[in-house]
């Protein structure tokens, strides 16, 4: 065996060194990033838990010192997010089915796919401004319905994207089998393709709900916020994100505490939805693997 020369040994050492140093820097970056993000969550939970009490869920927003809670904001958020998902998810599913089953690589489908991707990351503040122009200004007032419409526009592309992705995973043999039995197109999709992809579509819906639950900016322009208990969706409506925004910037410690608690509640909700969506996704992936 030939001995390595001194020069090539030195070069080998240098290459190893570069590899180790860069690898170490990357570990440092990962540690830094995770520590920073961990600090944010820790801050959120320590401040949020401190303000947590039963009255947060039972009392509506009130003047400082009057023992107010966030009940109206929580209910308002649930109603707007619920209606938004009910409007946006079915349309998003239809878009996803269109892209995967009907449009495929046609010109229109490619345009729809591209536009959907743009909408997916479009600034949500502009979607709020848009809905203000079409659903608030012409009808003379802020409303929970307008808020739900804005949230629906945000939810739709998310559901569309995940639906398309998951439908593409459904084996072609399923469709061929159904067609061979004499099923028409709509039956193939409704009775065979969609049931096979149910878990994946549910994932998309859960992710969309998680995303719109934390949206603040679009609601500033649409449902505005409301300090009183109200379940009338034709009127301005409270929501957790707006309540957090208003309270966090206030000079009253009591309100600031409530803002932290509200932020913690939203974050917990969003994280739970995300984890749930993983389970439904894993379920469908497992089924297809077997």
């Amino acid at each position: 065996m030939k001995q390595l020369s001194a020069a090539s040994r030195a070069r080998y050492f240098r290459r190893q060194l570069v590899d180790r140093v860069m690898g170490g820097l990357c570990i440092l970056a990962a540690v830094m990033g995770l520590v920073l993000l961990g600090m944010i969550l820790w801050m959120l939970f320590s401040n949020g838990l401190a303000g947590l009490s039963l009255s947060v869920f039972t009392a509506s927003m009130a003047q400082p010192g009057a023992g107010g809670g966030l009940a109206n904001a929580i209910v308002g958020s649930l109603m707007q997010v619920g209606l938004g998902a009910m409007l946006g998810a079915p349309i998003g599913m239809m878009v996803g089915v269109y892209l995967s089953e009907v449009g495929k690589e046609s010109r229109l489908a490619q345009v729809v796919r591209f536009v959907n991707d743009i909408l997916l990351s479009a600034p949500s503040v502009l979607i709020g401004l848009f809905v203000y122009q079409i659903a608030v200004a012409p009808f003379g007032g802020f409303s929970g319905i307008a808020g739900a419409i804005a949230l629906a526009i945000i939810a739709m592309p998310i559901v569309a994207r995940t639906t398309e992705d998951i439908l593409r995973l459904v084996p072609q043999a399923y469709r061929d089998g159904a067609v061979a039995l004499g099923s028409r197109e709509n039956v193939v999709v409704r009775k065979v393709v969609l049931p096979a992809a149910f878990g994946g579509i549910l994932t998309g819906v859960l992710l969309a709900v998680a995303r719109i639950a934390g949206e603040t900016a679009p609601l500033l322009f649409t449902s505005l916020g409301n300090n009183n208990w109200s379940m009338d969706m034709t009127q301005p409506m409270a929501s957790l994100p707006i309540a957090i925004y208003r309270y966090a910037g206030s000079p009253y410690q009591e309100w600031v505490d409530l803002a932290w608690t509200g932020a913690m509640l939203i974050t917990v909700g969003v994280l739970v939805l995300n984890i749930l969506s993983r389970f439904s996704h894993a379920a469908v992936a497992g089924k297809q693997g077997g």
């Binding site: 290459r15 190893q16 570069v18 690898g23 820097l25 990357c26 570990i27 970056a29 990962a30 830094m32 990033g33 995770l34 920073l36 944010i40 969550l41 801050m43 349309i91 239809m94 878009v95 269109y98 089953e101 009907v102 449009g103 229109l108 729809v112 591209f114 536009v115 959907n116 991707d117 743009i118 909408l119 990351s121 479009a122 600034p123 949500s124 503040v125 502009l126 848009f130 122009q133 079409i134 200004a137 739709m156 028409r184 197109e185 709509n186 998680a210 934390g214 900016a217 500033l220 322009f221 957090i244 925004y245 600031v256 803002a259 932290w260 932020a263 939203i266 974050t267 994280l271 995300n274």
Partner: protein
């Protein structure tokens, strides 16, 4: 000649045909709706903002003065604030995000990969208002007490640009462009890390094996083989992050100081298009120039985001197809 039985069958067949037609038409309609929504956002913003473009012309974009009292509106301060904060945020978040992605795909122990990967993806889902609050209550005071005085002292030697821009020389009030950029960076960090990781994972193992067989170290395999192979997608991931930063509202509005004027340092209070739209909206009555200006700003932001996102999608799609 048809028998009644055949007639029935024909009608039955036709009914199924109709079901298919309804099915197809409604799906096409849903697809078209997506395009209609995007086009109407652009159209509504443009029509609503037309008054601003009519009054100020191109000066609306290049004008440096923003004064609601005299009704003079120039968007350059907000545009500058948007570009500087987003650009700085990317400069900070990209290397760190890339480091995390490399760590997760190459050097991280196998047993930690999934939990850490999931943690990063979950952090990407935390609502932006949470980042904004943390910035306001934790980061801004820290910046004002510790970071800003130190930066001012340390970088005093950098010559100013003209006599109006002094880099790091500013009163240490905590809020401003630098703090906003940091918050944006922290916010898009998990997002960039997750997308970059997916891109790195999509590299064929064969390519890396080839590099290792030639005796390359892990870092050499990355820079010599993996990065050239997925360069487009890597930039795509960065542009996606940029798209997020440009339009981000809640994380910024808390910490940027909301001063709509040309910044005189990197730490000066400033404003972004999104923060101006959110902040000035409560005072903008329908039908006034104030609202038209906000819609005009919205139009500008939408066009810019559209461009950035289109580039991102183009770069990411290209790789996916090849």
């Amino acid at each position: 000649m048809t028998t009644p039985a055949a007639d029935r069958q024909l009608i039955g067949t036709r009914r199924i045909h109709i079901a298919d037609a309804i099915f197809r038409t409604s799906l096409h309609a849903a697809g078209a709706l997506v395009v209609i929504v995007l086009v109407s956002i652009l159209a509504i913003m443009f029509m609503g903002g037309k008054q601003a473009f009519d009054v100020f012309g191109l000066g609306f974009i290049w004008g440096m003065e923003w004064n609601p009292v005299t009704q003079v509106y120039g968007a350059l301060p907000a545009i500058t604030g948007t570009l500087v904060t987003s650009g700085l945020a990317l400069l900070i978040a990209w290397p760190i995000g890339f480091g995390i992605a490399y760590f997760l795909t190459e050097t991280c122990p196998q047993s930690l990969r999934t939990p850490l990967g999931v943690a990063i993806e979950l952090l990407a889902a935390v609502p932006s208002i949470v980042y904004g609050m943390w910035g306001f209550f934790v980061l801004a005071p820290f910046m004002s007490e510790h970071v800003q005085p130190w930066l001012t002292q340390t970088f005093l030697w950098i010559p100013p640009i003209g006599d109006s821009f002094f880099w790091f020389t500013a009163p240490p009030i905590g809020v401003g462009m630098l703090t906003a950029a940091l918050i944006l960076a922290i916010m898009i960090l998990p997002f960039i890390a997750a997308t970059t990781r997916d891109v790195l994972l999509s590299t064929p193992q064969l390519l890396k094996d080839g590099a290792y067989a030639m005796g390359a170290t892990r870092w050499e395999a990355l820079t010599g083989v993996v990065i050239p192979a997925v360069r487009g997608s890597l930039f795509g991931a960065v542009f996606l992050g940029l798209g997020r930063a440009l339009g981000e509202t809640m994380a910024v509005v808390f910490v940027i100081g909301n001063a709509i004027r040309m910044p005189d340092s990197l730490m000066a209070p400033s404003a972004t298009i999104a923060s101006v739209v959110a902040n000035s909206f409560p005072e903008a009555e329908p039908g006034t120039l104030d609202l038209a200006v906000l819609l005009g700003l919205g139009f500008v932001l939408f066009v810019v985001s559209f461009g950035v996102l289109a580039i991102a999608r183009f770069l990411l799609r290209q790789e996916r197809m090849s």
